[in-house]
């Protein structure tokens, strides 16, 4: 995902402040994690951050599920010299949509990721080498199982809420079905109970770009440059799916990057501003993300279908006990409103407490990271009333 750069001062009285990523080893080798495909792995290292204070009866905890390429650093800054705060800093902090003066907020890097939690780039304890493609095949269920264990480890028997957008929203749904007693409220933003064929198509292009890069070397590239062109290309394609026709037009139009006339040269690859922007996004992504993780996580997303293992989506949702808030964005074509509506309809079918809104915002799929005020206006009262109901 691609949150807009922050322009306000990043450390003010509405900031979660200076925070640190913490690490914990869960699932000891004596009680390893059983993946969906039956493979066992332990210990699992989890990188996570917390904001705010857990209250005495541990009833004010909210878990944030990050999207495809997010990390545990959702809010605040790591040091006073940080140029950028956490990826959802506009949404999480004292007095913000998710109010850390009231709630204890947890965010963890997903299993299979590359920002501190065990993933394909981690060392395989049984070989002493990096897993690469020997990492167990991953599902959203496995990711949620690890999150869930982290919550137990933190001494929280029930979360007030689980909140996530996009792939994060899929985790919220899986969580509500898999561990229904562990959450009171589920907030599903710009997400879906399964990835659309169109979404799979774009992921396929991204993966092909990585596989086809000579630097990929069947995933064992850690001693070399790696598939940096392929990974950058994957990001460029994916990034387009996070935007909308309107937002690209608004932000870039047909404007040229550093001239007011065409170069008429095939050597110049970044002539339009949008070209330059995509190249920049690709380049920056390679610096922070691991290609193997990208393969595993996009595949996990493709495979996700909440109804799997059940007779229907309704049957899956019949397992849930949480109340739901579902929001989509009118310009999001990667996770279109129709998919949220399908989810809402199934929730109504099994008579769950559900609210749904399609928010208007020009920024496409990325809207949930950018257009924070209308989101806060919905999520904040939803969580507050749920909190009241827990305490009464």
């Amino acid at each position: 995902m691609s949150a807009e750069p922050q322009e306000e001062p990043i450390l003010d009285d509405r900031s979660a402040g200076i925070v640190q990523t913490q690490f914990v080893d869960l699932f000891p080798s004596s009680g390893p994690l059983r993946f969906g495909n039956g493979e066992l792995l332990g210990p699992i290292r989890v990188a996570y951050e917390t904001y705010g204070t857990l209250n005495s009866d541990a009833s004010n905890a909210i878990f944030i599920c990050h999207a495809l390429t997010g990390d545990a650093h959702a809010a605040g800054v790591h040091s006073t010299t940080d140029k950028k705060p956490g990826w959802w800093d506009t949404f999480i902090g004292p007095g913000k949509g998710i109010d850390t003066s009231k709630y204890f907020v947890i965010c963890a890097n997903v299993l299979g990721g590359c920002q501190g939690t065990t993933g394909p780039s981690s060392i395989n304890p049984s070989t002493g080498k990096r897993f690469c493609l020997a990492f167990p095949f991953l599902t959203i269920r496995d990711v949620v199982t690890v999150h869930s264990e982290l919550v137990r480890h933190l001494g929280i028997s029930q979360l007030l809420g689980v909140v996530g957008g996009s792939l994060g929203g899929m985790q919220v749904l899986e969580w509500a079905v898999l561990f229904p007693d562990q959450l009171k409220a589920a907030v599903v933003l710009a997400s879906a109970p399964k990835l659309s064929a169109q979404g799979i198509a774009f992921n396929a292009v991204g993966r092909r770009a990585i596989y086809a890069d000579p630097g990929f070397m069947n995933g064992e590239y850690y001693d070399s440059e790696g598939p940096r062109y392929g990974l950058a290309l994957a990001r460029m394609v994916a990034h387009i799916t996070y935007l909308s026709e309107d937002s690209i037009e608004l932000k870039f139009g047909r404007r040229l990057q550093d001239s007011d006339r065409f170069a008429f040269s095939m050597q110049k690859e970044t002539e339009f501003q949008i070209e330059s922007y995509l190249h920049y996004q690709g380049k920056r992504f390679v610096q922070r993300f691991d290609a193997n993780s990208y393969l595993y996580l996009t595949r996990m997303m493709d495979y996700f279908d909440l109804s799997e293992g059940f007779a229907s989506l309704e049957a899956a949702l019949a397992q849930t006990k949480a109340r739901f808030l579902v929001a989509s964005y009118d310009t999001d074509w990667l996770f279109p409103t129709s998919q949220s509506r399908e989810l809402v309809s199934a929730l109504l079918h099994v008579r769950r407490h559900v609210s749904f809104v399609e928010l208007r915002c020009p920024f496409g799929h990325d809207s949930f990271l950018i257009d924070i005020d209308p989101l806060g206006a919905l999520v904040s009262p939803f969580l507050n009333r749920t909190f009241d109901s827990v305490r009464s």
Partner: protein
């Protein structure tokens, strides 16, 4: 453009329609409130008679207001039907005072009785004698008190009478379980010459299982 010179049909007060609706809903039932506004009636149904409620609203600010009450609401335009709401998922569907404003009232009524066993509606009676007189004497279209707008800008799209409404119910296989004319701000069980005298009317409707429901085929299905 409000126009004060003309006869304005009085709309039933919110208190009256709320009371009528509350009176006809069974304790503890599942109720969907179409055009629920800020959730005022939903709150009463929930708090006073233990109903499980759901609101449908087009305005986002209203959705937020309902969520503020701790109650659920869906954003939807009643003009587009209730496509996301499964069959028979509610005991009662409530539509107070907006039927004449939706583009296709017949379709919405059928939709209400697709998603709920019973429907409660309040509709204005444009068959009132003063409306007829206005048409006869001045040749003017009727306007209502809360929406005293001219024909080209009024949200009131349909001008029906109680007789028209009954005809439609017959035609689309809906049974009127109860009809309460509303006159001078009060609802009555019986009213002689109701189609001439009532300002509006409250209806409790259900599906007529014996009817060859031709109209039901129009209902969009998922």
């Amino acid at each position: 453009m409000p126009n004060s010179n003309r006869y304005q049909m009085p709309d039933p007060s919110i208190q009256l329609t709320d009371e009528l609706i509350m009176r006809h809903i069974d304790r503890g039932s599942r109720v969907i409130d179409l055009g629920c506004g800020d959730g005022r009636l939903m709150q009463r149904l929930h708090d006073e008679i233990g109903c499980e409620v759901m609101g449908v609203e087009v305005e986002q600010a209203n959705i937020v207001a309902v969520i503020e009450r701790g109650l659920p609401a869906l954003a939807a335009d009643l003009n587009e039907g209730l496509v996301d709401i499964p069959n028979n998922s509610f005991d009662f569907a409530v539509l107070s005072q907006t039927l004449q404003q939706v583009r296709n009232p017949k379709r919405l009524l059928l939709e209400m009785l697709r998603v709920a066993k019973r429907a409660l509606v309040v509709v204005p009676n444009f068959g009132h004698w003063r409306v007829r007189l206005e048409v006869l004497r001045r040749g003017r279209t009727p306007i209502t008190q809360t929406l005293p707008y001219e024909w080209y800008e009024t949200p009131n799209l349909h001008f029906m009478s109680m007789r028209d409404f009954r005809d439609l119910m017959d035609g689309i296989g809906l049974r009127i379980v109860k009809e309460s004319p509303i006159i001078k701000g009060r609802s009555v069980d019986q009213l002689l010459g109701a189609n001439l005298r009532a300002d509006s009317a409250f209806y409790l409707l259900e599906r007529d299982p014996t009817h060859q429901a031709a109209g039901v085929m129009d209902v969009p299905k998922r």
